[in-house]
């Protein structure tokens, strides 16, 4: 169980990126971490990984995250954490050396499935392919908790669909995914739980099964929590067109 208790993060003494965030993620869950830009999604993932300092506590099965259990977490980020001059096969060697739980068969299968060139340096690949390798490395590290931060930014919709399907097919029951994304419509059938961040705080936490019962999608839920006004655009447009009419009338 990944447990966050009253986690807060402040940048430059005044900017509160996270405020008293408490969250539990059980093994096997696929959690969508949702929210607008600047809501604190990336900061939250980086705090979990120990890449940022924070106030509060983050534990994995009751033990603070440190060198002894950090290998139980993997990370795929749109910023990319691979070595651009290395090939996927060279990454395989590096990961195998550092992570004893490395899943070699899964790596081979995913590389084959996405038809990725194993011996081409990553910097010579397209952004879409780079994203795929980034996610594949995170999936094959052998971690129990796989953290992903906008991993498919730059991939086309078919590619993303494929990835969601493959992910659902290969994940073992104990493997947990925390996926930060803006692609709300696409993750509806992929995530089992949606956690909504707003201004550094959790403002919504719901299982997709509950949403299904209510006949809602993740997008509906997010709109509701964000107090989205559906008539906002039409009223703005009518206001703009009204102004134009006035201007025309005045002429």
């Amino acid at each position: 169980m990944l447990q966050l208790n009253h986690v807060s993060k402040t940048y430059h003494l005044t900017t509160h990126a996270l405020h008293q965030v408490s969250l539990s993620v059980a093994p096997g869950e696929i959690v969508g971490l949702l929210g607008e830009n600047g809501a604190g999604k990336t900061t939250l993932l980086k705090c979990i990984l120990g890449l940022l300092s924070y106030q509060g506590s983050i534990t994995l099965d009751g033990v603070p995250i440190g060198r002894d259990n950090i290998a139980r977490l993997s990370f795929a980020t749109c910023e990319h954490s691979f070595f651009p001059t290395l090939t996927p096969q060279e990454h395989r060697v590096f990961y195998r050396e550092h992570f004893p739980t490395w899943r070699d068969q899964r790596f081979e299968a995913l590389m084959d499935f996405f038809r990725l060139p194993g011996n081409r340096p990553l910097r010579a690949m397209s952004v879409g392919q780079q994203n795929q390798v980034e996610v594949i490395l995170a999936l094959c590290q052998g971690a129990d908790y796989i953290l992903m931060d906008e991993p498919f930014a730059g991939n086309d919709v078919f590619n993303r669909e494929d990835f969601y399907k493959v992910l659902l097919g290969i994940l073992e029951p104990t493997e947990t995914v925390i996926l930060s994304t803006h692609l709300l419509t696409e993750i509806n059938h992929f995530v089992s739980r949606a956690v909504l961040l707003w201004d550094g705080q959790i403002v919504g936490d719901v299982s997709t099964a509950d949403l299904d019962e209510q006949g809602l999608t993740v997008l509906d839920y997010v709109k509701e929590k964000y107090h989205y006004q559906p008539d906002r655009v039409s009223s703005a447009l009518s206001q703009l067109s009204g102004e134009e009419d006035d201007l025309c009338g005045n002429r």
Binding site: L49, G50, L51, R67, D68, I70, A71, L73, F75, T77, E79, H80, S81, F82, F83, P84, T85, L86, F94, H98, F99, L122, R123
Partner: protein, 157 residues
């Protein structure tokens, strides 16, 4: 020993080796200035001694001059090299995220610091060895009558 294990994953060992050889050569060339100064001072003293029998060789520190600066500059250059090694992990991607979450706490430090620290020690060690060699030449080759009376005086007076 596999040196690549002590370098950033994306470092270019060939370029580093060339840079290291260039710095060593530069330092050694700089160090020749002592021999030049000594080779000019000794005959001069012998000529002057004909008119002024009490004349002495200039102190060792004066002859040494900046001849070892090349080694010190090379040793100091290892600090920005360590910074460059760190920067390699944030250039083009954020591989520093991966390095920082490796189970081995010291992997990133080992890859960024080992070679610069060892190279700096190498340059400082070579500088010390050459200092001793230069002084040994000064003390043993110079005729006794031109040498200061004490070792300390020879070094610093």
């Amino acid at each position: 020993m596999k040196w690549n294990r002590y370098l950033p994953v994306e470092a270019n060992p060939t370029a580093l080796r060339r840079g290291f050889v260039a710095l060593t050569a530069f330092s050694l060339v700089c160090s020749l200035s002592f021999f030049n100064a000594y080779a000019r001072a000794l005959p001069g003293i012998e000529q002057i001694a004909a008119s002024f029998p009490d004349v002495q060789m200039p102190p060792f520190s004066l002859l040494l001059g900046p001849s070892l600066y090349g080694f010190w500059v090379s040793a100091l250059a290892m600090a920005p090299l360590a910074g460059y090694f760190w920067a390699l992990h944030t250039r083009l991607s954020h591989s520093v995220y991966l390095m920082r979450r490796l189970p081995n706490r010291w992997e990133l430090a080992r890859r960024c610091l080992t070679v610069p620290v060892l190279a700096a020690l190498f340059f400082l060690g070579l500088s010390l060895a050459l200092w001793l060699l230069d002084f040994a030449i000064y003390w043993n080759v110079t005729p006794d009558r031109f040498l200061p009376s004490s070792l300390w005086e020879a070094l610093w007076s």
